[in-house]
Amino acid sequence: MVTLTHVWKTYQRGDHYVHALRDVSVHVAKGQCCVLMGPSGSGKSTFLHVIAGLETVTTGDLWIEGVSTKNFSDLEWTRLRRDVVGMVFQAFHLLPGLTAAENVGLPLQLKGLPRRMIRERVQWALEAVGMGHRAHHRPSELSGGEQQRVAIARAIVHGPRLVLADEPTGNLDSCNAEAIMTLLRTVTQGQGQTLIVATHSPAAASLADHLYLMADGSLHQATSTISRCDLAYE
């Protein structure tokens, strides 16, 4: 589904360069759940942003569904985000002026789908995350956990094949965090979607098919069950 080969992401800060990603090479297969862990500033968000085309790679190549994104135009990235990728953010990023249903319906409206179809899909997505009864509430009227559920509904409503979640539980208490991670995993698994989650929550590690550790821009695969359990109960 997603393949990165020798990807570097470098920022220039005055006279010196900061490497957010250092020679990252990884392959995430279709339908898998991949969890990235690591401390703040290790490059997890940059990794997801690069895959979603929110940032460009400095060197290396990124392949999505077997297609190299090296020469992608802005429009191609837009199409990719609209059709292939769904994103969940730590701060939910729901638009405050819109209701839950309207927030969820946005990706479909951006695609130009007919209103009836949008209504049906939105209803389905909200039901899938257990928020059908809160469809006409504004974000300010929802709790943090509810807001993130709506955000997940927005990420899956258009049937993306790849869901990227950047610290989805970062703004939630532990109880809500676990529920959200389980929901995310269940919903994407049910749709056969590939899920990549960046988090520093050890609880998420137990849900992963593959667990990666990120430190100072470098990616390492955590292979042993012990290390996973260590992380999970740390």
């Binding site: 609209r82 990023h93 002026g97 319906g105 409206q109 951006l110 209504r119």
Partner: protein
């Protein structure tokens, strides 16, 4: 170490050079318009004063006979009066060259006291210094004539040449004894020649008679008081003492009003500039909200936070004012050409040579810019100083919404509208419609205060309409989220559109009225006038006339259906002079009409033909407080006569009063059968050009005449009209440009505030084009609202301009004429301006890195 406040203010300004530059530019553009008008007004006024002094000399009062010329014995009385510095007798005689190659050429012989002229000049002045004369020339001889160098050159005259002049039935032979440069006697027209007054009286059989006496009052005496005192002392004499036409209070008031209209219009740019400063400082407050929170958290008092942003605004205003003054000085050069031309066409010929410049001007400009900056910044600074530290530092605060009490503003709007209505009622102050201008300001304020309520209503409407259409809901939400900021932008655009539409409708209505007036009252096919009539000056106010013989000849020309001889002269009514017109009402009524305030034109004209009576212009009716049915006393050649006023008509030809009577009654009371111009109606089948040539041929041998076709006259009048108002379009454009900058500012503020929102949209699949469309939609929404409010404001403004300001300034009633084209044009310009203003913000937001936007707080 630098003051932390100063360091922060400098950082704010330098950190966003584009916005700072844009605001400075906005203030500078507004200031440049105001400054250019101020400088041009000053230059034109000085030139006007100079011209007046140049044309009428130092003359402060003019004495004329009530019923024609005056007895010269009165001169001694005047010269002895302590308030009089000098009294110069003048005899003015219209003549034509009777023989030779110059036969038929018209000129005016001006008899003046040459001795008195020398005595009044600088010490040591002699006749030789004033005139180019040969030694021993008999300058005071009865046949001695002095001509201007210009006329001598044009007509090929040399000293010693004889000339035969015809005055009425008299023929007199004169000899040119000297020349003078016209610049020495600028009060003379090009076709005026000089004789000693005693010689002129003898030569033209006018012994003991004068046409007028020019008085120069003592410098420390009040001219008006002297005029009243002399009128009282010389009560028994049949004379009128008035101020010279160019110095009349009427002309000065007109010029003052004309300039005040321009100044008001020029001030609009500055007014809109304050909105721009508001937006920029409001943006700064949004951008540095977190910084405000930190500063408050570490103990900075509220007033210092306010001072920080006030300082920014003052600095931007100062620089904008300085640049605007410089730009205004440059603009003034081209502006002054237009204003000089308009003033020349409307009031008095002026030549503007210099535009006043001084360092002081830059001081005033920068101070005014600073005041504009401070006024614009009051609101946002208040908001900044009241920002809660806890809220400013809290994450997610970007979602906070501005709250504005829209009902309070709605109430304020109603109050200002009511106030505008009340201010429209009182009359002018010293001839200036001060209350009218205040009412116009109140209308603009009322429309501005409608902004928050309108925004709320429209956003609710859109919200309902946009259910299920999140992008429409987003635009609606954006409107409602910052009503204060959006209202200010709305006001800026509204003012631009209102001014544009208001003045546009006013000019349109005015033009329609003038066109209607031309088409209904000036329908004669040809206008015949003596060529010297074109050189009418203070020295020969009545100009040359066409004799009864010529009127008869013109009527017999093949193709001429009818002739309406039009006689115009100035007569004294009370303390003032008005224009008296005599014409053939029967001819006029059969083919044309007057636009009467009430009553049918044909009936009133028929009545005025069969019974002695006059019709008066609307301006005269206002000036003298007389109506149809009242009576008026006029000084005729047969003594004072009382005439009933049979009708009051609309007239746009003069801003002074006008009295019109039938020619038969005029001939009876004034014993004058001549005409100033002939209005000629051509037979339907006849070719106008052929008839014109025939008339030229028939009258040419008797007198040089100019013949203008109706179309040419119509074009000329409308050309002058259009030229007069041309500058207003430039000033409207300035208000609109500043309004446009306001939209750019608001959009940028809004986009900065919502970076995360746009980044989220991009992250979930919105294309750059979709984001741009959203920004344009928001810009368009603001523009639509601004245009609608502008439409309301513009219509009210046009009503005020026509019904109050112009009516009080010029005395003309101009009916309101609606124009769909103008409304459409104003809306189109507003919408295009808004879309243009949306270009840069739309481009800017799509250039922002998405990941950075997602992190934006």
């Amino acid at each position: 170490m630098r003051s932390p406040l100063l360091a922060l203010a400098v950082h704010h300004v330098m950190h966003r050079p584009v916005r700072t530059g844009m605001t400075i530019m906005g203030v500078a553009i507004g200031m440049s318009a105001a400054m250019a008008i101020h400088l041009a007004n000053q230059a034109v006024y000085e030139a006007f004063e100079h011209t007046v002094t140049h044309v009428v000399g130092e003359t402060t009062l003019v004495v004329t006979g009530k019923e024609g010329d005056l007895d010269e014995t009165i001169l001694a009385n005047l010269q002895q009066h302590p308030a009089i510095y000098s009294a110069n007798p003048i005899l003015s005689i219209s003549a034509r060259v009777a023989s030779g190659p110059l036969q038929g050429q018209a000129l005016v012989v001006w008899g003046m006291d040459l001795v008195e002229l020398v005595q009044q000049g600088k010490p040591g002045t002699s006749l030789r210094a004033l005139f180019d004369i040969r030694t021993g020339s008999p300058l005071f001889a009865v046949d001695s004539l002095l001509v201007s160098e210009e006329l001598a050159e044009n007509w090929g005259l040399r000293i010693g040449d004889p000339l035969t002049l015809r005055v009425g039935s008299m023929q007199r032979r004169v000899t040119i004894q000297g020349r003078f440069p016209l610049s020495s006697f600028p009060l003379l027209g090009k076709h005026v020649v000089i004789m000693d007054i005693a010689a002129a009286q003898v030569l033209f059989n006018r012994l003991g008679r004068l046409d007028r006496i020019d008085l120069v009052t003592q410098p420390n005496w009040d001219v008006e008081a002297v005029r009243k005192e002399l009128s009282r002392v010389l009560n028994s004499a049949p004379i009128v003492i008035r101020r010279p036409a160019h110095r009349s209070r009427q002309v000065e008031r007109m010029l003052q009003t004309f300039q005040m209209n321009l100044t008001t219009l020029g001030g609009v740019g500055l007014f809109v500039g304050t909105f721009l400063v508001y937006n920029t400082i409001a943006f700064s407050v949004v951008q540095y909200r977190r910084e405000i929170g930190v500063l408050r958290a570490i103990g900075m008092p509220r007033h210092e936070i306010g001072l920080l942003f006030l300082g920014e605004a003052a600095a931007m205003g100062f620089v904008g004012g300085l640049l605007g003054t410089g730009l205004g000085s440059v603009l003034a050069h081209s502006f002054v050409v237009w204003e000089g031309q308009s003033v020349s066409e409307l009031y008095a010929r002026v030549t503007v040579e210099t535009i006043p410049h001084s360092v002081w001007l830059y001081g005033v400009g920068s101070s005014m810019g600073m005041i504009v900056g401070l006024l614009g910044a009051i609101g946002p600074c208040r908001e900044a100083s009241h920002t809660s530290a806890a809220r400013a530092l809290a994450p997610g605060d970007y979602e906070q919404t501005q709250t504005v009490n829209r009902y309070r503003y709605l109430w304020l709007s109603g109050m200002f509208l009511a106030l505008a209505g009340l201010l429209a009622l009182p009359g002018p102050l010293r001839g200036i419609p001060v209350f009218g201008y205040l009412a116009a300001c109140c209308v603009l304020l009322a429309c501005s205060f409608l902004g928050p309520w309108c925004i709320w209503q429209v956003s609710c409407l859109l919200w309902r309409a946009g259910r299920g259409l999140p992008l429409l809901s987003l635009a609606a939400n954006q409107l409602a989220r910052a009503p204060g900021r959006n209202s200010v932008t709305l006001s800026a655009l509204m003012v631009g559109i209102a001014i544009m539409l208001g003045i546009g409708l006013m000019i349109h209505s005015f033009r329609q009225s003038v066109e209607m007036w031309i088409d209904q009252t000036l329908v004669a096919d040809l206008i015949v006038a003596p060529r010297s009539g074109l050189y009418e000056t203070e020295s020969s106010p009545s100009g040359e006339v066409l004799s009864p013989q010529m009127i008869g000849i013109a009527g017999r020309v093949v193709g001429v259906e009818a002739v309406d001889p039009y006689r115009q002269r100035r007569i004294a009514v009370g303390d003032s002079e008005v224009i008296l017109v005599a014409r053939d009402f029967r001819v006029h009524a059969a083919r044309s009409r007057y636009l009467f305030r009430d009553g049918k034109s044909s009936e009133i004209l028929r009545q005025a033909t069969f019974q002695p009576g006059v019709i008066v212009s609307e301006v005269f009716s206002h000036m003298w407080g007389v109506q149809r049915g009242d009576h008026i006393t006029l000084p005729t050649a047969q003594g004072e006569q009382v005439f009933p006023i049979l009708g009051v008509f609309y007239d746009y030809a003069t801003d002074g009063g006008k009295i019109v009577m039938d020619r038969s009654w005029y001939r009876r009371w004034w014993q004058d059968s001549s005409a100033t111009v002939l209005a000629i109606y051509v037979e339907k089948e006849a070719n106008i050009s052929t008839v014109k040539a025939n008339i030229e041929h028939a009258l040419g041998s008797l007198q040089n005449v100019s013949i203008i076709e109706h179309g040419e006259l119509r074009r000329e009048i409308l050309d002058i009209f259009d030229r007069t108002f041309r500058v207003t379009y430039g000033l409207e454009l300035i208000a609109l440009v500043v309004g446009m900058l306001g939209i750019v500012n608001t959009l940028l503020t809004s986009l900065w505030d919502r970076q995360r929102e746009f980044a989220t949209l991009r992250a979930i699949g919105a294309s750059a084009a979709q984001i741009r469309r959203l920004v344009f939609a928001e810009s368009l929404l603001l523009a639509l609202l601004g245009c609608l409010l502008g439409l309301l404001g513009g219509t009210l403004l046009a009503g005020l301009l026509l019904g109050v300001i112009n009516k009080q300034s010029f005395g003309w009633t101009v009916p309101f004429h609606w124009s769909n084209f103008l409304v459409g044009q104003a809306l189109a310009v507003g919408l295009v301006a808004a879309l243009g203003a949306g270009l840069f913000p739309a481009w800017w937001i799509t250039q922002r890195p998405i990941s950075e936007g997602l992190r934006h707080e």
